[in-house]
Symmetry: C2
Subunit: 265 residues, 2 copies
């Protein structure tokens, strides 16, 4: 049962222009991207600020709706703006002045009317950062997950290889109660653990990710790396299509939306 989303968005209404911009943020101070009552979210803060600068309401789309505490290095945002007064460079400076350096913006510009941050995105890359050492690191503690027990990188990569390709990721997905018929099928292009100086990093690229998917995958692979599970447990868990196979997702502060892929040059 593969549900494919339409890949082309509607153009903006008459007199409006489609705007795109790259965005980065420190997720520590936010309850995730998606707007939600009574909590501080990336979408909530950004939508309000863009609306105030443009003097009209806006509706944002993004490449990846990151969870609570998750960071972004390259997040894409699109929205529609009044064409008559639109000045991308001016808007970018204004947003950076108001929201930076917690959130920053680059290449704010008018784009193709059917371009959409979510629907035009052909792939997302996330990186999960682990600091694997007996003692934590004071200087990267806000952006890495500290794991004390020595990790077996080969075992973790054996497990990572099992998720590449098209799979139903129900086991690794948090269900959305308002979308009972949601599909958890995703196409995983690459998934690999590697050492990056003193950090142990998981880099994963897929057409798209479900809610809490990267953290659930990373959490289970760290269990495998600690030797508490065999690498083959990853295939068993994936095939089971049962969320109870994931004991605990890795914490949000180690995760970064690393890049969003588009066909524009």
């Amino acid at each position: 049962m593969v549900t494919m989303e339409p890949r082309v968005a509607l153009p903006p209404p008459e007199g409006m222009v489609r705007v795109r911009m790259w965005m980065a943020y420190d997720g520590a101070g936010f309850s995730g991207f998606a707007k939600n009552t009574d909590v501080r979210t990336i979408e909530g803060v950004l939508e309000e600020t863009v609306a105030r600068v443009l003097r009209h309401p806006v509706k944002l789309n993004c490449a990846g709706r990151t969870d609570r505490g998750v960071h972004a290095r390259r997040q894409m945002i699109t929205f529609d703006a009044d064409a008559e007064h639109f000045d991308g460079a001016l808007l970018g400076r204004s947003l950076n002045r108001t929201l930076g350096p917690e959130m920053t913006f680059q290449d704010v510009e008018a784009t193709d009317p059917t371009f959409d941050a979510r629907l035009s995105c052909t792939g997302r890359t996330y990186r999960y950062h682990v600091y694997n050492h007996p003692v934590p690191d004071p200087l990267t503690r806000h952006t890495t997950w500290h794991v004390r027990e020595p990790l077996d990188l080969d075992a973790m990569n054996e497990a990572a290889a099992m998720i590449v390709g098209g799979h139903d990721f129900t086991t690794f997905s948090k269900k959305n109660k308002s979308r009972p018929d949601e599909s958890f099928y995703r196409r995983m292009h690459s998934a690999e653990w590697f050492l990056d100086r003193d950090q142990t990093v998981f880099e994963v690229t897929a057409n798209a990710f479900t809610h809490s998917m990267v953290r659930s995958l990373a959490g289970l692979m760290v269990e495998i790396g600690r030797g508490r599970r065999d690498p083959s447990f990853m295939a068993t868990a994936l095939e089971a299509e049962d969320r109870s196979f994931v004991l605990s997702p890795a914490p949000g502060h180690g995760l970064v939306l690393w890049d969003a892929l588009y066909d524009f040059s």
Copy 2:
């Protein structure tokens, strides 16, 4: 006028053992290393905690008395402990549990009675981190100095070469009023700017540093990198032995005490 400090410390009193440990910290929450009334300092917090764990007062020595907001990756600490009950591993676990992950401790152990974190140190290495980009980086903003204007790395390295060797660093030193006859002569082993991925880093090693010296040097070299001064201005400033040549030291949060060098194996 070269004042050399004695390089050997006194041994601990009878019944005490000399203890050494490596320490790292995030300097953001501290008014520097040195104890000071009414402010939170590394020394103040650590001395109090060690004393509580050991149940007797201690006096700490360190490799580098870092300024307000400055971080440490490898800081050495020595003090004397009651020999009868001393257990380094236990003390290390206790300090990490109480003070981590803001401060962390490794290799807590009894050492040579005349070893001293300050007097036995043969050299200190600091790294200053600049993020040189039109827009700041949300994820490294607490540990890098954001400089907008493009920097000329060649010009900065031309200036850096001028400070290598033995010099009077009066121009780059904050005077201590209680030590009017203090010498600012230091021997600079190496000083170099390099690109480290998306950061512009100044690494400098000397026998020792004076108060605010690395930040003053980095601040002036960034002025040179911006093209506001010629590289030759560094030699002029150094020879002038006049602090008014340094317009503004680089901010503390970009600086890390990277390593402390000792002759032990």
